[in-house]
Symmetry: D2
Subunit: 333 residues, 4 copies
């Protein structure tokens, strides 16, 4: 149990995903020529209620960077939050995939951008060749602090993006948790972005994420760049199978709801310790070193978050009793 | 059965690999901090009889390029065969991973390089900044035409590499087949290269290849670059599990022997139709369009190889009766 | 005199260029905001008889690569001759500027491409992500062997490019020599390419080349990339001045005609020694080592060209008596 | 006169530089094989009192980026000030030259870094592959606000760099002004950095800057990368000539002293309007829009600096009477 709240990355694979993987284990065309991979576009088009083009990749980092590479030239810039995953946790992958394009860092509560915080970054940029010009905006749904963009917030950012001729990308590593929180409509949770990194691994998958292009023409370039990045797996059917299993009967939403519920349960005992409202499956909780030690002494696993806080992450498989026990333990501190 | 000889990429996953995958499905540290990933160095060191550092990645393209990136600066060049996979089949991935470094194309029978063919490329390069200087050699074991480098051939190339201060990389997408053919010693089949892409997917794996660094210090840089390329999977334990399953009781060699035997069986009926001696699990067979049509009419699946030939690939699961049937069918043409 | 036929790169700067440089030495706006830089588009539009956008840069390598970067994405390829300057003499600059895009090497007599030789390269490329797809063609006018493309040859290549949706770039390091040879019309010598590297340094300039975009919209991206490559000089007026001086009263053509005439004079004595017809200002002459030594003993400077030949280059300032003397010396061998 | 205080980039070329340029206009070996280019190492070694290797390039951006590229791998980071030229004014060139390496932004008064401000950036970086690791520090002498690093400040930064195994680069676009201010010793002003971009264009040159490598072995790689970046000019003798002219009889220091003196003269009348102490040739002066309009009405040229200030730059050729007149005009506001 010691890793129970460490990361949704550490969680196991959902039984339905295992079933789908086993079912995919027949001879089929290599790469993405198999029946499952060819089914992806239709499946995701159903989920979003409009025609999309979808590519599987193995990681969120690859998904984010391949998506952004379709929106931003090497000499351009991407506006993102100062604490965005692409800025702080991807080992410089955007610099690699975008050939040196620049991340332009904006502020915003809860790691969420706003039209104002975006304008604060882009308005001072002189329109001359000495400065890197913005070409896209990247937002994270749910954000790195577990906050969700509401429909009207998305609309406002989209409107700004359109008016400035900027592409719009959404890092949806925990898109399922956001969608579950926001009411269950994938289309609403995605708003009108150009490309979405649709997370699956943290939500019960093994090794597949999806890049959903709402402008299908972008996918053509992404397919070449996926191969060029060594991300076109030869037995791609196993990635497609995971994604389809997730979509089947809305397993992705069920899993996310379970994780969110566990987080909400824990949140009830945190009170003012919470650094951010809990809207998805992450909790950032003010805890002294001694308090953290006490919790670890009770066999709870989690990461420190700076000197005075901890991050707890629930997952699709978090047991009620574990969430309850953690809530209790925090309440008892 | 129609895809039976299409590609070893199309083959299913070996039952032992499935077992290992299921066994890995417990909470563990994310990325490569899990117990299985941390075991890889020791396991591969056993296989090669010396200390190596090993990284998992999802594809052979990523393995080749991450390995080469440790040996070649962006302004350098890599000598490889004109028909090397990195040159003709990786969508320009070396150009991406090596930041524009150049492939310097050499000749050689059976897609194998020789000291002479390498020298024919590098000797005319003037030692000045106007020309891209060679920094490494990449060879493929077994080669793109299913040919294996013997120990003395490897020694001669290594000797040249050392004398010219060139790194040496081996693309071992079918290293197992080569090792099986050469007698079963991994160390002998690898010779004294600096880095080896150790194939697993074509040999019964699902989605894992290994990069084996015989100079462990190279692995440190490769780890950063793997993350930067979006190839550090968060549930890396599932990749490590596949590789360990393959090494366990030499499953990798057993699988390769099975594939090689099936290829050898088919070869017996091909006579002068064979474009290359069959040393691994690929056959390049001269067949007219009419002959290919006849075979396909008998439900044999394979790729055309130019206008007048076909490529047949066997795999770990090729059934004796299928190999025999194909041999018969070719004999009957 | 010992360097007289070594390289047009070694030749001095023309007096009119010096005059223009001195005249430009007044305070003016930095970078390319000065009056001369802003005059370039109009001047070159006059020369080509249609609206063009023009950027100065310091070298032909930068000109070629910045031009190509507007036509080819990082995952694309450029068809060029196996002996093209961008392939053999630019230190891998295309790999750098194009972020790893690939040069696809074609054959052709005299280092000239033909529709047939281009098709021989691009037709076998499978339209799938495993192979780098062609996005542009680059030709050199005059070619690396001093050969000129005639109007109908350019038209045939352009027609192929258009039909395959390929961009077309012309390396015109010696465009002046070609234009002079072809009759003096810049428009005819450039045909219908998308971008031209217009050489000036070899033709009496000091440090300026021009990139001429026949589709002016391409120049916008090139301006950003020029800055990003460190090629936006802060006293850009000195580069613009050189180019304008060259265009003034067709100095560029006068200089080229002088160089061509000197080469023609020398050619008269070479007979079957000539490896290529002499159409511009380069001669490739079969000469044994002993013969070369003899010529050097008479104080003629030139580069060896392989083991059995030499390259002689004339320039705008080659003196009649020197050309004559060399012709005599070769005749006397 | 309207551009007199706009930029030292707009200033004319010094007569001694013109002389040197003319003197260099004889046939010599192309690229950097000429006598002047080969003299550079010795000349700069004299200036710094130790063996250095020196390359000419056309711009400060190219100098900075080529220098940094020898110190930082593509997956690494460079600590620099938030207002460093490489961060805000080079159009993303570091991202291009360093293949996506990251600038890590630090604070510091007057655009100067301190050990504390550097540690504030690098200490929180976790030593794992998810975060870009620092590989070098870049400082600017004089800084972007015209401030100079004293010997002890340089020593402290160097000491930190050494202890963390970080390379150290100095952007010396106005190194001459800093050296003049600090007492005239180039060695003292450079401290113990690994590579210095030695400015010449702003100080009376036309088109040449130098990269000085205090570890000469770094220059070998830089030579290849210079060519690869299209910065190896074919008539390189004209760049070497400018640099040598500058060093001759310490013209560089004389020019810088003249510019500094003019700035100091103007500073006397600025009082509390000054945003930064004036140590080199730049003044950042608080001026309302109305005040700026008044000055422009008197024919003074300068750039606005945000909404409430202006930047004045003096140069080697700023006339006493102009400096005096500006001082008066500001005093009279």
């Amino acid at each position: 149990m010691t890793r129970a709240f460490l990361s949704d990355n550490a969680a196991p694979v959902h039984p339905k995903v295992w079933e789908a993987l086993r079912a995919a284990d027949a001879n089929d065309a290599p790469y993405d020529g198999d029946a499952l991979s060819r089914e992806l576009d239709a499946r995701f088009s159903d989920v979003f209620g409009r025609e999309v083009a979808t590519l599987w990749v193995a990681t969120g980092t690859a998904a984010n960077c391949l998506a952004l590479a379709t929106l931003v030239p090497p000499h351009g810039g991407v506006v993102c939050h100062r604490e965005a995953h692409i800025e702080v946790d991807e080992g410089g992958a955007p610099g690699f995939y975008l050939h040196g394009a620049k991340l332009l860092l904006a502020e915003g509560e809860g790691a969420k951008l706003t039209p104002e915080s975006i304008r604060a970054v882009i308005d001072p940029i002189r329109d001359d060749v000495h400065q890197v010009q913005p070409h896209a905006i990247s937002i994270t749904q749910a954000s790195e602090y577990g906050r969700c963009y509401r429909a009207e917030e998305l609309a406002a950012i989209t409107s700004l993006a359109r008016s400035r001729n900027l592409g719009l990308h959404m890092d949806g590593a925990r898109f399922a948790n956001a969608t579950a929180f926001l009411g269950g409509s994938a289309a609403d949770a995605a708003g009108d972005v150009d490309a979405l990194s649709f997370g699956c691994v943290k939500n019960g998958g093994m090794s597949a994420e999806a890049i959903v292009f709402f402008d299908p023409s972008l996918a053509d370039v992404a397919r070449y760049r996926r191969k060029r990045a060594g991300h076109l797996q030869s037995k791609g059917r196993f990635l497609a199978a995971q994604l389809i299993a997730m979509l089947e009967d809305d397993l992705w939403l069920a899993n996310a709801r379970a994780a969110n519920a566990a987080a909400a349960e824990i949140a009830t005992s945190c009170g003012t310790r919470l650094m951010h409202p809990v809207e998805a499956n992450e909790l950032f909780v003010r805890l002294t070193p001694a308090e953290r030690e006490a919790l670890r002494g009770q066999d709870f696993g989690f990461y420190d978050w700076g000197a005075d806080a901890a991050r707890f992450v629930t997952a699709w498989n978090t047991r009620d009793e574990d969430a309850h026990a953690l809530a209790q333990a925090i309440a008892n501190l």
